[in-house]
């Protein structure tokens, strides 16, 4: 990390020794329209994929955390996609969402519904990538199931005796008791979302999509470093990404005191 900070203050094209530039790259960031676009796209992805992924995983975990026969099979089925190589998934996704020949549009067309251009259309491109992120929701779901199984049953039994319905049980027992798990998944999910690279790299032929609609900050770092050989500028972008990640994590930890409940310790916020 220290090396990245040092490099960000230089002009370096890998072969010759880096030349001192000072904070010039950081000043250039303010004038770089692509940097702003990549930042906006990264935020869009994080705000879309993290709540959706965590929410869906929680819902699935609630459904599959029941003592019914066959639950193990369903859990396996939902988890299996998370085991498939990311590149293979993205390639398959690209075919499914091909605007002309993809299975998704064929299905929509068959139902008489509009057929979006998906990745080819700027307004649909990022939602398509967010949808793709849900493919591996099984991993998150599994963590939630593990968390759900640690909640003492007697809490539910006592609440039921007091007349609580299912919604109340979830609201007042499940959510608080599982909040440390939710907090962990939100922090990890946010960090992962800020690192979005593989789907946009593969689906958009390294370019960042139509009108840069899926150009994320990691992809822009990659372009600058490995395609344009501007390693100093790429290092500056990396430092910014690290700073954003750190700031968001600190903010999440700070906010956690208000909603995360650690049973058996000092209670709310640990």
């Amino acid at each position: 990390m220290l090396a990245a900070v040092g490099l960000s203050l230089t002009d370096w094209q890998l072969v010759a020794a880096p030349e001192w530039r000072g904070p010039g790259h950081y000043r250039a960031l303010f004038e770089d329209e692509l940097f702003r676009t990549s930042l906006k796209n990264t935020a869009y992805y994080a705000l879309g994929s993290v709540p959706l992924g965590v929410g869906l995983a929680f819902g699935l975990a609630l459904l599959l955390n029941r003592p019914w026969p066959g639950m193990g099979l369903f859990r396996t089925v939902f988890f299996m996609p998370a085991l498939v190589s990311g590149v293979a998934v993205v390639m398959a996704w690209g075919w499914l969402f091909n605007p002309r020949l993809g299975a998704v549009n064929s299905l929509l067309g068959g139902l008489g519904l509009p057929q979006p251009g998906w990745l080819a259309e700027p307004r649909w491109a990022m939602p398509t990538v967010i949808l793709l992120s849900l493919w591996s929701v099984g991993g998150t779901m599994l963590v939630f199931i593990a968390g759900l199984q640690t909640i003492p049953r007697d809490l539910y039994d006592a609440a039921r005796i007091d007349g609580a319905n299912r919604l109340v049980l979830v609201r007042h027992i499940t959510l608080p008791m599982i909040s440390p798990v939710t907090f962990f998944l939100l922090v990890v999910g946010t960090i992962a979302s800020l690192q979005l690279f593989t789907p946009t790299y593969i689906l958009t032929d390294t370019r960042g999509g139509t009108r840069n609609s899926t150009l994320t900050l990691p992809l822009y770092i990659y372009q600058n470093a490995f395609q344009y050989r501007e390693y100093g500028y790429a290092a500056a972008l990396t430092v910014v990404l690290i700073a954003i990640t750190f700031a968001l994590t600190v903010a999440q930890v700070g906010l956690a005191r208000r909603w995360v409940y650690y049973a058996g310790t000092t209670g709310w916020g640990g």
Partner: protein, 479 residues
Amino acid sequence: MARTWMRGLSLVLVGALLLAACGDDDDDTSATNATPTQNDATATQSASPVATSTSGSSPASPTAASTDDEEVTLRLGVSMTPAELETFEQGLDAIRAAHPKWTIELEQTPQEGIIEKMNAQVAGKNLPDVVQLQGLQAQQWIRQDAFEDLSSRVDAAEFQVDDFWSNSLAQFEWQDKLYGVPYSAAPDVVYYNKTMFDAAGLDYPTDDWTYDEMRELAIQLTLDSDGNTPADPDFDPDSIVQWGLNVTPSGIWARGYLLPFGADPCANADCTELQFAAPDVQEAMGWWASLAQEDHAAPYDPYSGNQTGVPGDPFAAGKAAMGFNGFFLVGQLNQTGQLDYDIVQPPAGPTGVRSTALSTNGWAIAANSEHKDAAWALLQELTDSAFLSEYWAKPGHSVPARKSAVESIINPSAAPANQQAIVAAMEYAEVFMPFTPSAFEAYLKTAEFFTNIMKGDTPLEEGLAEIDKVANEVLAKDK
């Protein structure tokens, strides 16, 4: 006690890892070298063009002979398609047989990762002794002193540098010095699908055709899902299943499509300044834009698959009746046998001028090589006329950069019938410009504008001005 023991063990392990990481890997790699056995060598040698070579640098040349006296291990970095690699390895076996004291280690890198790998190797001064490179990408490494200056070596009489198409050398030159030697120089020609022409009842194009004739054919060959052409009132441009032509200008390397109209997007000699917004270039780009927007006869987004449904070249995918493409497609189409096709020279523009893009590939010697003489001898073998004929031209992979070998692409028993069109196009083909180190960055940052212009989303004048602004800002680094 146990803790101290564990610490000691950890130190030993870390030390061992460090030694392994810092160690020279030459021994390891040479151990994996696939030097043929003596029997293999003898068997290959008898049929080898290398052994029977008479042009260029035969193994009997003084340089090669002197390097044959000593045992040497040469690393050879390549990035080839599986089909190219299969043929190339046969050629390499022939070279090994002719030079039994050479140990040639082939290092293949998939084409998707070659730039990144070479950048890392250049930075680590660990480039293979001889490396394959695309002409369009060569300058970024040439200007970082990654390669040996070959000027004095190629001037030697036996190398016959005059035998190379002069245009094919340009991308390997820098400040009047030569840093690489091309082995292939393939001009784009126009491929056409004979089945689609027959179905439309149209005559095949001939070498004397013009851009206007190509446009007319493209319109008649474009079909929507109901079989209507753009000339029919019921034509639906949103359901095109077959395009007349495979491309519209999709990036800054569009010069070959504009020169026939008397328009040159390069504002200076090394093309580090572009002028797409100049009136004549604008007019030529307008011709192409109307082909896509008004005639609907060519896709505005040819390669992504978003418009055609199939990523990659629309002609090769059977989605276009005609297509500008390089010689490499001959090998691919003949291998699959899926298309009944022929080729024709690129059409002449309104000015009577023909132009087409020339794709080059070559070899360079790493500046960090410790065996430069042997590497040069190997490079001579790899660019030898007979080697180029046998292992690049005849399998349909590429057009030899040596004039003396170019006719070897002609194979009367294989498609296409009009193979002479490729030889003819060599006379006026020009390498892609710009090809300076930042050209790829300029291309990436402006490709979107071309699509938007061809689609009609951005007005022509505005889009071209934006292309000039963005590209020239990037290319200024190369001046």
